[in-house]
């Protein structure tokens, strides 16, 4: 018994030493330890029978025992993870539903969220921002910092998509990328479809005018830079689908996209910085608000809406072309 223990001690020490030297994989070490002291395996794995079957199987199929063990570990882990996740999700739903049951009732004017904040937006919004649409006035004047952050989210999102999907001339694994680019999915669809083109002839101008209307009237009616920009972007996408990249490429290149985005965001950034700076230092901004209700009113909101609209339209179109063929 004592000899056995000695042996065990020395082997442990050796293993530990080799592990400190980084010679053995600690997982291997663990497996070897399992072989040396069988009871530990039982703790690890309650279904001893299944283990036996697995070992039979591994003998039959000549599989590496380690791989089987590892795969089984992963499977157990996965099953455990699945069950835990389902329990977690159900728990979250239950707790949140329970919470909802003790929240104030929807549609009630005396709810805590209808407080002095909303009251001031409604009562003085028109005088302070010049925007008839209070929501627009709120997001582009009262809480403009959030909205600036939001356009930065869009900007960085498009940058990430550019990183992932743009195919460059000096791309590293060029042959593969070129192959994929050549097998562009446009090969599988009819070109110059006459029905699509005629429909596009009618629809594109209407969509574009609608988009421009939404952008320009953001401070007067529902909508604004973002929704209008998305409509404009989808108009561009329809045009592209109907008439192909050749025609589109003549008027809309990557350079133009970059310039528009840069100019619009720079203007946005500078205009808002000016407004923040003057606001915080209690200076007059000197931007006329105009008569509420007129198209040229509400100070910076109209130009900002135009900027956002341009950025969003270009970004949506860029997403489309990048997803389609990895470039513009």
């Amino acid at each position: 018994m004592s000899r056995k223990k000695d042996n065990y001690e020395t082997s442990r020490w050796k293993k530990f030493k080799s592990w400190v030297d980084g010679e053995t994989d600690p997982l291997d070490h663990g497996m070897e330890a399992h072989e040396a002291i069988p009871p530990r395996e039982d703790i690890y794995d309650s279904a001893a029978h299944e283990k036996a079957v697995k070992e039979e199987l591994s003998k039959i199929y000549g599989e590496d025992r380690r791989a089987v063990l590892r795969a089984r570990g992963i499977r157990y882990f996965q099953r455990f993870y699945k069950v835990m996740s389902v329990v977690l999700c159900l728990g979250i739903i239950m707790v949140l539903l329970w919470t909802v049951a003790s929240l104030p009732i929807t549609g009630n004017a005396s709810n805590p969220d209808n407080n002095e904040v909303a009251a001031r937006y409604i009562e003085k919004g028109l005088q302070e921002t010049g925007a008839v649409n209070i929501v627009t006035g709120m997001i582009l004047d009262y809480r403009a910092f959030d909205t600036f952050g939001e356009s930065c989210v869009l900007f960085i999102g498009s940058c990430c998509v550019l990183v992932l999907l743009r195919l460059d001339g000096d791309s590293k694994n060029e042959s593969i990328r070129k192959m994929i680019a050549e097998s562009d999915d446009r090969h599988f669809e009819p070109k110059n479809d006459i029905i699509l083109q005629k429909c596009a002839c009618v629809l594109v101008p209407i969509i574009m005018i609608f988009g421009v209307y939404i952008v320009l009237n953001g401070h007067l009616s529902p909508g604004g830079g973002f929704s209008g920009g998305a409509v404009l972007g989808s108009g561009l996408i329809l045009y592209l689908n109907a008439f192909g990249y050749g025609k589109m490429g003549k008027m809309f290149t990557e350079k133009l996209y970059k310039r528009i985005t840069l100019c619009a965001l720079t203007f946005y950034c500078l205009a808002k910085s000016y407004s923040f700076f003057t606001g915080a230092n209690h200076l007059e901004s000197g931007i006329p608000l105009g008569t509420p209700g007129a198209i040229l009113s509400s100070g910076l909101i109209l130009p900002l809406n135009i900027c956002v609209g341009l950025v969003v339209a270009c970004t949506m179109y860029a997403f489309y072309t990048l997803f389609r063929k990895g470039g513009m």
Partner: protein, 500 residues
């Protein structure tokens, strides 16, 4: 109003603006712009800190023409100033240290996009530090997430892309929970700015209404941000993410991004929910338990790892456990220790990642233990850097890790019920830390043997000046945090007092 008070706003806008401008610059110019921007931003943050130290109080800054409950606001105080300066320094050194590797890993035509991510990352971190508005915090959390994802997948290797999507999924789960927490909070208080929201929360607590929603808000917001910062049971994305990003990416992600979320969480605890309400609601004990579990399990996982980069990543899990344990102690001293550990860990972990790069350079870009044997002789500076980082993690005196462990231990005495488990876990976790870090350090300083796997031909690359500079500065930063800790701890205490 003093002109210095504009500095936090300037630093956020400057970082964003340089990101926007970088989209049309070449890679090299974008890099220089980014480095210059980080220096200027750090200087501005230092100015803010000096101002706050001089006046001895914090101030809010209106973003626009409208005061508190109506317009956006940012807030600067001593703690914000210290954090912003430290984040700026760590960011600068990480970018400078990983510069050459970034240029190798990233395609030339996409290099400027990498620096856009760095710029926007810094701006979002600063915004998270300075923000006084919960919805602004949400928007910038999203910017931070997307930029983090960009930093991971910019290598465009299979492993880094799969790590990126995993990171995105976990982060989105976290953001979803965070957002629903904000919605609930808005529903019961009617405010999104932190100061008025806190007033309403206090009224609610005093009147005893909406007790359950408040509890759920605490839980959901904490869990959301804990998922995003990689607290123990939600840590599965961490090793892949930190292990397969670019060196700069790993350093920034582990050193700054998760810390930004934790800082935001602390800010929400203090400035919205109220720390005493949190302690009263027992929520804190859950965080404590998770933190303790993370401290042990992260180290256990790290011991099992053969890839050194993944090992360092798992050690991050353990260190984040320390931070949550400090938050969970439920005392001000514990919180001070947690905040100090945020600083200490972001300096140390970035140092480890950056100096590990110097060691991989001389081992043919291999990351396993056998190939790294003797690497410290081939690149002495990186070896010293790594050793110091490892010793700091273990808690060697004179280094920053020692101070934070000391703070944790002393703060444990303030809460009698948690004293014994805290001290015990600290001892266990330190031992485990010592096992895996010292093992690696011993490997680095032992000679190569006969039977070792041969290194690939021509393994020794000269490390760039940027890397050497970064390692030296990081060592300095660690020593400063370790030896001159008294004023920093004082500043943290003052800053936390200003949060109230």
């Amino acid at each position: 109003m003093s002109f210095v008070q504009n500095f936090p706003f300037f630093s956020i806008i400057l970082a964003m603006f340089s990101g926007i401008v970088s989209s049309v610059l070449s890679g090299k110019k974008a890099r220089n712009l980014s480095l210059a921007m980080i220096v200027v931003t750090t200087a501005l943050s230092a100015g803010t800190l000096a101002f706050c130290l001089k006046t001895g109080e914090s101030y809010t800054y209106m973003m626009g023409h409208f005061p508190a409950p109506w317009g956006n606001e940012i807030r600067a105080g001593v703690l914000e100033g210290v954090t912003a300066v430290l984040f700026g320094v760590v960011m600068f050194l990480s970018v400078a240290g990983g510069m050459t590797h970034t240029a190798e890993d990233v395609e030339d035509s996409k290099l400027n996009l990498f620096y856009i991510m760095i710029d926007l990352m810094l701006s979002s971190l600063l915004a998270l530090v300075y923000t006084n508005d919960l919805f602004t915090a949400y928007v910038f959390v999203e910017i931070n997430t997307i930029a983090g994802c960009g930093l991971i997948m910019i290598r465009q290797k299979g492993r880094s892309m799969s790590a990126a999507i995993r990171y995105m999924i976990m982060s989105q789960l976290g953001s979803g929970l965070f957002l629903i927490g904000l919605s609930l909070l808005y529903d019961v208080t009617g405010h999104l700015l932190m100061s008025p929201a806190k007033e309403s929360v206090e009224l609610l607590v005093d009147s005893g209404s909406y007790r359950l929603p408040l509890l759920v808000i605490m839980a959901v917001v904490s869990v959301g941000l804990a998922i995003k910062s990689g607290l123990y049971p939600f840590h599965y994305w961490i090793p892949d993410t930190y292990g397969y990003a670019t060196p700069t990416g790993s350093a920034v992600l582990s050193g700054l991004v998760s810390k930004g979320y934790i800082f935001l969480l602390i800010k929400i605890f203090y400035r919205v929910i109220g720390y005493e309400n949190l302690v009263g609601a027992q929520m804190i004990n859950v965080l404590y338990l998770f933190g303790v579990a993370g401290m042990v399990m992260g180290s256990v996982h790290a011991i099992q790892e053969t890839d050194t980069r993944r090992m360092i990543a798992y050690s991050s899990v353990a260190q984040i456990g320390y931070i949550y344990m400090g938050i969970g102690l439920g005392t001000t001293a514990g919180m001070v220790a947690a905040v100090f550990h945020i600083f200490s860990h972001s300096a140390t972990k970035a140092l480890l990642f950056i100096s590990a790069v110097g060691l991989y350079e001389v081992s043919g870009d291999r990351k396993d233990f056998v190939s790294l044997r003797g690497a410290a002789y081939r690149n002495p500076l990186a070896g010293i850097g790594f050793a110091i980082g490892a010793l700091s993690m273990v808690g060697f005196p004179m280094l920053s890790g020692f101070i934070s462990k000391l703070l944790f231990a002393t703060s444990a005495f303030d809460s009698p019920s948690k004293m014994l488990p805290t001290l015990f876990v600290l001892a266990v976790s330190t031992t485990l830390n010592a096992i895996y870090f010292l093992r690696l350090v011993i490997t680095l300083y032992s000679r190569r043997r006969e039977g070792d796997k041969p290194l690939p031909p021509n393994p020794v690359k000269k490390s760039s000046r940027g890397l050497k500079f970064a390692i030296v500065c990081f060592i300095g930063l660690n020593l400063v945090l370790g030896m001159a800790s008294q004023p920093i701890v004082q500043a943290i205490t003052d800053g936390l007092a200003m949060f109230e």
